[in-house]
Symmetry: C2
Subunit: 209 residues, 2 copies
Amino acid sequence: MLTEKPVTRFLDELASNSPAPGGGSVAALAGSLGAALTSMVCNLTLGKKKYLDVENEMKRIVVQSEELRKTFTRLIDQDTDAFNKVMEAYGLPKETESQKALRTAAIQGATKEATLIPLGVMKHVVDALALTKVVAEKGNTNSISDAGVSALMLYAAAEGAALNVKINLSGITDQEFVGWHSEEVSSIIRTCKNMSEDILNVVQKKINP
Amino acid sequence: MLTEKPVTRFLDELASNSPAPGGGSVAALAGSLGAALTSMVCNLTLGKKKYLDVENEMKRIVVQSEELRKTFTRLIDQDTDAFNKVMEAYGLPKETESQKALRTAAIQGATKEATLIPLGVMKHVVDALALTKVVAEKGNTNSISDAGVSALMLYAAAEGAALNVKINLSGITDQEFVGWHSEEVSSIIRTCKNMSEDILNVVQKKINP
């Protein structure tokens, strides 16, 4: 598993001349990093006298952000696996007409599955940003820049995943699937953009009051 | 070293109730991820017949992006080390007047040093984005979404590092240092925003021609 490799080795594999892992896995990792930073702000708020009135809220949030972190981290490997399945489908024999038909169907099926991974990343970013907003507003002010970096990483995760959804959609012939998911991507990106801008406004005001 | 730990362990340490590693190290890691993706696009372009005319340019770029990747990766650990030094300075004794003066000077010195790490990240992002622009324009079109994710990660690195510069500057009393570097941050962010938007326009056009 990619995520069990040292950070430096993960980066080596990313930079190599193999197409996977690539941008899709990086988008999922950006989600993990964003969720981890939101957890960190919660953990640096919990148990502090000054923040006793938000203790229960922070406890609830850290459970959810840790759950999201695990989900994003699974998606790092899942994206690479899904990409490899698309490559396998492209490698199927294409000599007879029946082989060609089977290969095309396999490519289409694998590409649809590969599309759903970054789309999943995008949906989880919306949930994660909702938690980041609360920690930026109510969490330990000493960690306000960490809440900001969390929002930035989550937004980059959504935008990066969107590029991966779109490049996959460009190879899918099922126009209903393409139309539906294209709209979904635009709508999620709008939401994520608004949410992350809101959070970054809160952060900037706390850094420069 | 943080960067020698498995990705999952790095994320665990990030999420923990220790303030380091935090957003500063994540910003540097986002730089490494961005540079690695630019290297990957070069490596997937090199040796391909269709891209023979950009072979030498890609060879030059991959050398530079790999150098930048190493620099960003060093900055992941350097940011955490610099933060720990600030914390050590805060831990100095403050009972006598002379101890107080020494402690204040140590905090100011360590905070200035800690400011220069994310500022370094920002400066390297400008160089990295210049390389990403070329690979987005001339590199293997099959990897165009990876060039896009590279630009997104690099921009998030710059914005995340800027938040870290600003939170450090807010604790520094040397107004000349603060003024100079505040302006520098604004100027670099403007540059990075323009560069990454340019790259993402190129990417979007290639994904949806």
